[in-house]
Amino acid sequence: MTLSIKDLPQEDLFGPGNAGCRGCGAAIAGRQAMKALGPRTIVSIPASCMATLSGSNQRTAWQVPFYHTLFEIAPAVAAGIRAALDAQGIRDVNVVSWAGDAGTADIGFQSLSGAAERNDAIIHVCYDNEMYMNTNGQTGSQTPLYAITSNQRKGKQTCKKDMLAIMLAHGIGYAASASISHPLDLIAKLKKAAARRSFSYVHILTPCYRGWGIPTDQSVAVARKAVECGLWELYEVEDGVRRRTYEPSFIPVAEYLAPQGRFKNLTADKIQEMQDAVNRYYHREEGKA
């Protein structure tokens, strides 16, 4: 069954009034995700842009319970919420820990791994802007190779840690990648995650204009190029069965990389290196873009 935009609820359970920057990819992801998750959802977000933009003083941009938690603990908090709901016999509520790439893959990794191994009935969403944006854009494990960050002016020299592979190594039942450029795909995946009574992991690419050095109106377009060039594969693994959920058109990776300020130092051979890697991954002919 393919989802249509007509099937989505009109109401926005996250979005209006949020304090994100123009074109904030994380906020777009939040709005899309809530179309899938619905009003009976509790969201816990650790220190990050998303926590900051979600509300201040007596305002909140969420129409569902939202708790801004500590940096390391969103999955553990979510596990505790789930335990309390179980103890009270409340069975129809989605419990979501929603963290940035640092709150997921770096400082938050221990509690995430714990919740995944225990197979707690929560959904962990990583919204990935590939840097520590709330503290000005430093390098983290999700920063891609060669990207310039606020504390690595010459670009990162190691690869992006493959979080989906790591999460799948926990033996979890559902894991998926997503992108704000493909909202129906993203929403369908979160619906699948919400329908399960076990741990699910969804990793969303959410460009950030400041960190990436792109115009504010290009977040969605750049995310789409990441998918179309093959660098950001959209797929899911459901009970061990892997499925690519969108076939990219394989535009040259240069079309994705070149417009971004964070890749401005990339030489032609480095771009070719990345193109070759994509070609190898998708078993495409050498040299062909």
Binding site: P39, T52, E72, A76, V77, G80, A84, A87, Q88, Q110
Partner: protein, 382 residues
């Protein structure tokens, strides 16, 4: 009621069971783990209907407990020493969010050097965290105080630590009167407050500017000050039902006509009672003030206990480096400006160094025989 032979760990576990905790979360550490395992056994044996979150670290243990408390469940955890330090960030957060989590702490010395032996340094490290901290002198008090802790926590909307020393208390059996479930249910009924509730969505811990932060902190501190009334009130209610009166904040032992008061908390108190009895038999006018509530610090109650004595000796099983013992410092601060009294402060029993009746008596003698301490505090038993 039935009298059982219980360790301090078991006493804490029985209290958690009697309180009908809904969610339990802990991460193993010595010497707290027997209390943890005992509760898990209650759950596995079907004697306790509690959700257990088996976390991967101490920090997550308190985080999971916090999530459960925010979602409205009565929640319990256990820890000590390195576990408590690892939790510290969450400790402050729980208190700021005013969540009534109860934690049993089997006090143990902090590393380095590595030690697994008792002292109060771990609890003292959390003195500014916003947790109510109660100290117990024996296993009966551990059980009774843990039960009272739920009522105190849920009344004040503040987290409570129930402290007892590793091994000396956690692993030593004593006779403990275990109350009837029905009587406990009547004393500590659970009034559910869920901050995270899909039927009443709220934003929790939104970014707070200078226009609000200080006011939150004021109210948090007012709640702590309010606990100075609630703790004795709960102790009285408890005494009415169970006949055991732990007195609330402080307890004076043989303080009538005392000239010299010994101030202490935790396991030192039960030994100090024996010493005071012996000294009284010798005609010496020595009394004991037990500090039961270390946070909030009962300055006014302590002052009135000490209103007629000529000198005070404070025993501390902790050291704040470069500043002295926590209880010594707080006692001096409480008295300052009210009475000009010699207050002798001893650091003793760190990392399991033995302090029994003999050592307590030696400190009392030292305090009486030496007019000036070499420093504001002295080390005893090096």
């Amino acid at each position: 009621m039935s009298v059982m032979l219980l360790t301090g760990s078991e006493a804490a576990a029985y209290a958690a069971k009697l309180a009908r905790i809904e969610v339990l979360s802990y991460y193993p550490i010595t010497p707290a783990f027997p209390a943890m395992e005992r509760i898990s056994k209650f759950i596995e044996d079907g004697e306790l209907n509690t959700e257990f979150v088996r976390v991967e670290c101490d920090h997550s243990a308190l985080a999971a407990a916090l999530g459960a408390a925010l979602a409205g469940s009565r929640t319990f955890t256990v820890s000590n020493s390195q576990g408590l330090l690892y939790m510290t960030e969450v400790m402050y957060h729980v208190a700021g969010l005013r969540q009534p989590i109860v934690m049993a702490v089997a006090n143990r010395a902090l590393s380095a050097p590595h030690s697994r032996f008792p002292e109060h340094g771990d609890a003292i490290s959390q003195d500014a965290s916003g947790w109510i901290q109660l100290f117990c002198e024996n296993n009966q008090e551990i059980l009774d105080t843990t039960l009272q802790a739920f009522k105190i926590a849920e009344t004040c909307r503040l987290p409570v630590m129930v402290n007892y020393e590793g091994y000396i208390q956690s692993h030593t059996q004593e006779e403990v009167d275990v109350p009837e479930q029905k009587a406990v249910d009547a004393l500590i009924p659970f009034n559910r407050i869920a901050a995270l509730d899909v039927n009443n969505p709220q934003g929790i811990n939104t970014v707070t500017g200078p226009e609000f932060y200080m006011d939150y902190k004021y109210h948090q501190n007012e709640a702590m000050e309010g606990a100075l009334k609630v703790i004795p009130q709960v102790a009285r209610e408890f005494a009415q039902v169970f006949g055991r009166d732990w007195q609330g904040l402080v307890e004076g032992y043989r303080m009538e006509d005392a000239r010299h008061a010994v101030v202490a908390m935790g396991s030192l108190v039960s030994d100090a009672r024996i010493v005071v009895d012996a000294l009284r038999n010798e005609g010496r006018q020595v009394g004991l003030v037990k500090i039961r509530s270390f946070r909030p610090f009962p300055a006014a109650a302590l002052r009135s206990m000490l209103s007629a004595v000529d000198m005070v000796t404070v025993l501390d099983k902790n050291i704040i480096f470069g500043a002295g013992g926590a209880l010594g410092n707080d006692t001096k601060a409480a008295l300052y400006g009210y009475r000009s009294l010699p207050v002798k402060s001893y650091i003793c029993g760190l990392g399991g160094r033995s302090v029994g009746t003999r050592e307590i008596r030696q400190m009392i003698d030292l305090a009486e025989n030496r007019v000036e301490q070499r420093r504001d505090y002295e080390w005893f038993g090096l």
